[in-house]
Symmetry: C2
DNA sequence: CCATTGATTGAACGTTCGTACAAATTTCTT
DNA sequence: AAGAAATTTGTACGAACGTTCAATCAATGG
């Protein structure tokens, strides 16, 4: 109805609302932020949220959708390039992990505070499994995730599907927790290391995940840890 | 009336409120749950929360504190035993990871739905870094975490303090994401694997984390050298 | 046995919530 | 310039929020 001519006047109000909502939702969650807080931060009237998005719920979805598409495309195009380059063999595990992790990491490091808020929002939503979050995350990220899981499985041909699944879960958890920015490392190291220095994290994250993935299988002795070093 | 000795009559109402709050907070977060929802689920009057806890904020803290002490004690006693047994050498990495992970995993697998809710609550709070969560988590878990980080450092003597810190962050993220119970694995595997089958997870989690920890250092062929070589 | 105390009830308090809508204003098309 | 459409304003509504409090109930100890 209003698609054609919505590129001029109200577009800035619309995006200002999205920016404010993104930042506030990232810090306090959906229920921790009111429409009045969002519109005040955006410098618009309260009723503008319902005018542009229809409801608070739809605003939440719009915040998700604005940046998720770019993320998925970047991941898939990297995976496409890898599979093309290594075909018919499987791309090496490290490069697959890198293709999955680097897009969100680079977005995070781009300096755009919107991407910083968005990654915090994703981290928070991913660990709060109510209906709203699960539906939104599933819709935005499951198709790409399936492709990567299959690729991980091909790169680890002697792993069962279940083991690949667990490894993917650990990968997601480790990656997301970094984005949550709890600044816990800052406190635990008495300020020696600032988690703001995320530039170096890929250097550590990818080796960690690749080695973990390769080791992610049931230990022969499961119940108790061995007393001595493993052979 | 049936109980032999009840320290006070209202102790059951108090714990029923805690149970209901724990379950609801775990699913919807602090702001997503109202006192009226909690008291209705607990089968008590609305004003009982303020009678027993003083405020909604204090109820949140009480939910945290009820189970956190046990968790910390279990972790520390396992670490004590390990250090005593291996002194003056460092306990092996796998056993340290096990000492950190197993208490919360066993609590999770105990069958008590309260512990299941609580672990989901911890996972959610750990990735939502507002003031309330950070203060609560820091107060409850930082002292024990410092001890484990030091132990990890001793078990990995050729790792810098920063590398150990990153490894610990990845460990926390991977562990917590499992507890969040997003059931993402269920969907992504089309129901082949149910994340409810957490019994086998230690078999995968500990090898994953140990291998990751050992590999958690900047890649040797990294294009950009870090601040300087480790001494 | 009554007095006292803790536990519980039920009803309010003032505030804030998401949403709706008519009127006013701005912007664009013709 | 005129009219239509899009945007913004300001206000109002009913519901739900956290909290308070006097009154009532139940149990215990002296």
């Amino acid at each position: 109805m209003s698609q054609a001519r919505r590129s001029s006047a109200g577009e800035e109000s619309r995006s200002r609302i999205l920016d404010a909502a993104e930042a506030l939702f990232a810090d306090h969650g959906y229920d921790g932020v009111s429409i009045r807080q969002i519109t005040e931060a955006a410098g618009v009237q309260t009723s503008m949220v319902n005018y542009y998005f229809g409801s608070k719920d739809a605003l939440w979805s719009a915040v998700f959708e604005r940046r998720s598409a770019h993320l998925g495309e970047s991941r898939r195009s990297r995976l496409d390039a890898l599979e093309r380059h290594h075909a018919p063999a499987s791309p090496p595990l490290e490069s697959l992990i890198d293709a999955f992790v680097r897009p969100i990491l680079e977005a995070r490091l781009s300096g755009d505070p919107g991407w910083q808020s968005f990654t915090r929002l994703i981290a928070q939503a991913s660990n709060t499994p109510n209906v709203r979050n699960v539906e939104q995350l599933s819709q935005q990220y499951d198709p790409t995730a399936r492709r990567f899981i299959a690729a991980f499985g091909h790169a680890l041909p002697d792993r069962s599907e279940e083991e690949v699944m667990w490894g993917f879960s650990f990968l997601m958890g480790a990656m997301l927790h970094i984005f949550a920015e709890t600044r816990r490392v800052d406190r635990l190291s008495d300020g020696h290391y600032r988690s703001a220095s995320l530039e170096r994290i890929t250097d550590h994250l990818t080796p960690f995940l690749a080695a973990g993935f390769r080791a992610c299988r049931a230990a022969p002795d499961s119940s108790r840890p061995s007393e001595g070093p493993a052979p």
